[in-house]
C-alpha cells in the first residue's frame, strides 16, 4: 500500500519538473480524448504543438504566438502576485474588459484627432479602468471583509453587460450601418496598437508583457514588497508580526493585477481585436489563471507558460480548421493541464512511500 509522507523541505527537482510532467500527462490524456472523438491523436497533437512553430505555415503562426501569449502573460503575472499572497483575484476577465472599454472610450472620444499623445493616454486609461474594477473587490475586502473571490467574479458578469451596452450603445460606430461594435482602430492611426515587428507578432502589448515579467521578478526577489507578498502567503501569522499590513497588501496586489489586466485589454482591443464588440474578449482572464499556476507563480515561469498556452490556442485553431477539432476541445485540454499540474504538484511537498505491513 502506498502512502504519502511529507518531505522535510520541498523538492527542488519536482518544483521544476512538475510543469513538463503535467504537459506530458495532458498530451496523453488529451490524445485519448481526441481518439475518442474519432481523430488521429498523433496528428492532432502534432498540429497543436509542432506545426505552429516548425510546420508549413509557421512563418505566419510564430507571430501569432506572441500575440496570444502577450495578454496571457500580462494578466497572469498580476494574478500570480496576488495568488502568492493568498489574495484570489479571479475576476481578471472583467478587469480586462473594463480596461478595454476605458481605453477605447478615450480614443474614440477624440476621434479623428491625430496626435502622438493619444495612444499613451489610452494606455493609461486602460490600466486605470482595470485598476478601478479591481479596487471594488479590494476595498470591499479591506473595509467589510467581503470575499474577494466572489465579488471579483460577480464583477465579470457586470463587466460583460457593460460591454454589451458599449458595443450596441455608447461606443457604437455611428457610421457602422447599424451593426453592433465600435469604430475599428485599424483605420485610426493615432489610437492603433500597430505591430512593431510583424514577423514576431510584437506589438506594445508584447513589449509590456516582457518588461512586466522582468519587473515582477525583481519585485518578488529583490524588493521589500515582494518579500511581504511571499511572507503573507507562506506564513500569514509571521507576516503580521513582521509588520505586514494585510489591507495594504490586498490593495497593492489587486491593484497591480487589475491594472495589468486592463492594459492587456487595451492592447488587445486596439490591436488584434481591432474594435469593441460584444465578444472581443476571448476568456484570456480565465486562461491566465492556468498560466499563472503553470508558471509556478514565478514571473519568468509565467513567460514560458504563456507561450505554451498560446501554442494551444494557435495550434487549436489550426486543428479546428484542418482537422475539424471543435474549439471547445482546446478548452477541455487547457482545463486538464491545470488538473494534472495540481495533481503532480503533490510530489513537490510529499513523497510516496511503500507502507510496510500495518501501520
Amino acid at each position: 500500500m502506498l502512502r504519502l509522507e511529507k518531505r522535510p523541505t520541498p523538492s527542488r527537482f519536482w518544483l521544476y519538473a512538475t510543469p513538463p510532467a503535467a504537459v506530458i500527462l495532458t498530451m496523453v490524456a488529451g490524445g485519448i480524448l481526441f481518439a475518442a472523438m474519432g481523430k488521429n491523436p498523433f496528428e492532432v497533437i502534432r498540429t497543436i504543438f509542432w506545426d505552429p512553430v516548425f510546420g508549413e505555415f509557421a512563418f505566419y503562426l510564430r507571430g501569432q504566438l506572441l500575440v496570444k501569449a502577450g495578454p496571457l502573460i500580462l494578466i497572469a503575472i498580476g494574478l500570480a502576485l496576488g495568488f502568492r499572497a493568498g489574495i484570489w483575484n479571479i475576476g481578471a476577465e472583467g478587469q480586462y474588459i473594463m480596461g478595454a472599454i476605458f481605453g477605447a472610450s478615450v480614443g474614440l472620444a477624440v476621434f479623428p484627432t491625430e496626435s502622438r499623445w493619444i495612444f499613451p493616454v489610452m494606455v493609461v486609461a486602460g490600466a486605470f479602468g482595470g485598476w478601478v474594477w479591481a479596487m471594488i473587490p479590494a476595498i470591499l475586502k479591506t473595509r467589510f471583509n467581503t470575499n474577494e473571490i466572489l465579488v471579483s467574479l460577480m464583477l465579470v458578469y457586470v463587466a460583460q453587460t457593460i460591454l454589451a451596452k458599449a458595443s450596441t450603445g455608447f461606443l457604437k460606430n455611428p457610421e457602422g450601418m447599424g451593426f453592433p461594435g465600435s469604430r475599428n482602430f485599424s483605420s485610426y492611426p493615432a489610437a492603433k496598437n500597430a505591430f512593431l515587428y510583424e514577423p514576431l507578432g510584437l506589438h506594445w502589448g508584447g513589449v509590456a508583457a516582457l518588461v512586466t515579467a522582468v519587473l515582477a521578478y525583481i519585485l518578488l526577489t529583490r524588493h521589500q514588497a515582494g518579500f511581504q507578498i511571499r511572507l503573507a502567503g507562506q506564513a500569514p501569522r509571521a507576516a503580521r508580526f513582521h509588520g505586514v499590513n494585510p489591507a495594504r497588501l490586498v490593495v497593492l496586489c489587486m491593484g497591480i493585477s487589475g491594472a495589468l489586466a486592463g492594459l492587456a485589454g487595451l492592447f488587445e482591443v486596439t490591436g488584434p481585436a481591432g474594435q469593441i464588440s460584444i465578444d472581443f474578449n476571448t476568456g484570456y482572464g480565465f486562461t491566465a489563471i492556468i498560466v499563472a499556476f503553470l508558471g509556478r507563480l514565478n514571473p519568468l515561469g509565467i513567460v514560458l507558460a504563456g507561450f505554451l498556452m498560446a501554442l494551444t490556442y494557435v495550434g487549436g485553431e489550426m486543428a479546428a480548421t484542418q482537422l475539424g477539432l471543435p474549439a471547445a476541445a482546446i478548452q477541455v485540454f487547457q482545463g486538464m493541464l491545470l488538473f494534472f499540474l495540481l495533481a503532480v504538484d503533490v510530489l513537490t511537498n510529499y513523497r510516496f512511500r511503500l507502507a510496510v505491513g500495518a501501520h
Binding site: F83, N145, N147, L153, Y157, T161, K165, I289, P326, V332
Partner: protein, 308 residues
Amino acid sequence: MDLGGINPVILIATLMASAVPILLAALGETVVERAGVLNLGVEGMMIFGALGGFIVAVHSGSPVLGFIGGAVCGALLSLIFAALTQVFLANQVATGLALTLFGLGVSSLGGQGYNGIKPPPTGKLFPQALTDLPVVGPIVFGHDWVVYFSIAMTAVLWWVLKSTRVGLIIRAVGESHEAAHALGYKVNRIRLACIAFGGAMAGMGGAYVSLARVPQWVDGITAGAGWIALAIVVFASWKPWRVLIGAYLFGGITVLQLNLQVAGSAIPVEYLSMAPYLITILVLVIMSAGRKASGAPAALGQNFHASR
C-alpha cells in the same frame, strides 16, 4: 391585483421555481463547506449536470431519469476535485477553479448537436383543480416535484446537520480535522463523501436549468448560477434554512428583473440584467461587514494530511 404590471402571486410562484437551481447547489455546497472543504467548482458541476441531465432526459424520454443523470454527472465531476484535494492534497481554491474551467469546456464540447432540441417536459405535481385555487393554488400547489424536493432537502439537511450523529461528524471534521482524526474518524473519506453529495446536488440544480427553467441546451446555460450559489452559502452563514431564504431572495430579484424587462421598464435591459450580480455583492458586503466571526467552519479550505 397588479403592481406596475406585475402580479405578486405569480411573482412568488415563479421565484420559487427560479430559485431551485441555486437552492440545490447552495445546499450541497453548505454540506461540503461544513465538512471544511471549499469547492469553487460549483459552476462547473452545475453546467456538467445540466448537460448530462439534458442528454439522459432526451434519450430516455424521462425527466426524472434526467434529474438523476444530472446528479450522477455532477457527482462524477466532483470526484475529480475530491481526488485532487483529498488524495493529492492540491490547493482547494485552485482545484475548484480548474473544475469550473474544465466543466465549462467539457459541457461546451459534449453539448454540440443538442442545440434546439426540446427535452421532455416536467409536469406539475398536483391536479389542475388544486392549481386553479386563488393565491394558494399557484404558490403552494402549482409546482413540479423538484421544487418540493428542494424544500424537503432544506429541512432534511437542517435536521441532519443539527441533530444527527452524521451531522455531528461532518461538523467535527469541518471545525477541527485534527480532533476528528484523533477521535478515529477518517477525515478525508468523510470529506470525499460530502464533496460527492455536493456535486450531486449541484448537478441536479444544473439539470433543473436545462430541463425545466430554459428548457433546452444552450452553451454556458448556467450563466454564473454556481457562483451565486457560493455567495448564498456565505450569506446564509452555512445554515440550510437561511440558504433557502437567500435563494428565494435571489430568485425574486431575478424574476422581478425579467418581469421589468418584459413590462418595458424605463431602465435599460443591460442595467436590469446586471442587477442580480450587483445585489449579490451588496448582500455579501452586508453579511460580512462588522463581524469578526463569520460563522465559517474553522477548517474551511485547509487540507488534512494524517501524519500519524
